[in-house]
Symmetry: C2
Subunit: 110 residues, 2 copies
DNA sequence: TTGACATACCTAGAAATACTATGTATAATG
DNA sequence: CATTATACATAGTATTTCTAGGTATGTCAA
């Protein structure tokens, strides 16, 4: 009924690729696992985002044969992408920290 | 250039009203203060959200004269709204926890 | 061997959310 | 008296994510 709120798709995608190269389908499965199924990202969400990241030079794609004989499209995080990841992580920390401050009634300084 | 990502407007609005009744303009100023100016919510964002919350019965509005003589529209969190706030808070904790799990490379269970 | 299911990629259109821009009006201030 | 801050509001736009659909290949049970 209500749309699931996954707004930080880019951050999550970049983060997944930080450890190893992955292909789209794998990223979706991996994300569900790492988030204990809190995130159930849709293909219609991820693929356009990956294409965008590629256009911006944050990831590079290459095709590789799977052991099954099937071809997969792997994504590799570039140096530029690593930099973007660090920035997005910092933005997330700032953002989530601010939400928590507000929930606690404000970082009453002092 | 890039839009600021304030996605949890409802949660933030409900949270602000948890302590005391507030009017819209005050909420924007208060939110900026409590978040150390991380959140600079726009009136075009808040007012429609407040109207929605009112329609759902989460807040009740009443008009009151300010000491300045000017009329303000105060919002009060209803019992139903308090319940909604607790749910949104729980959702936020689940969501932010999951993001952090992914950033750390997954809640590898152990 | 064939039909179902999981894997694997992709895009178009709809829905949700927040922003920009604008309008109105009053109080305070220089 | 003009400008700025306060205070509320809406219309239209932009962005993000979802739904829904399409294509194709590998696996496995009946």
């Amino acid at each position: 009924m209500k749309k699931q709120a996954i707004e930080h798709t880019r951050l999550l995608a970049l983060s997944l690729l930080a450890g190893e190269d992955m292909y789209g389908y794998q990223m979706i499965v991996e994300l569900a696992r790492r988030s204990n199924h809190t995130f159930d990202m849709k293909e219609g969400t991820l693929y356009p985002v990956l294409h965008g990241l590629e256009q911006e030079g944050f990831v590079e794609a290459y095709r590789k044969q799977a052991p099954t004989g099937r071809e997969r499209k792997y994504y590799h995080l570039t140096r530029k992408g690593e930099h973007a990841l660090r920035e997005e992580e910092a933005a997330w920390k700032r953002y989530s920290g601010a939400v928590n401050d507000v929930l606690r009634g404000g970082a009453e300084a002092v």
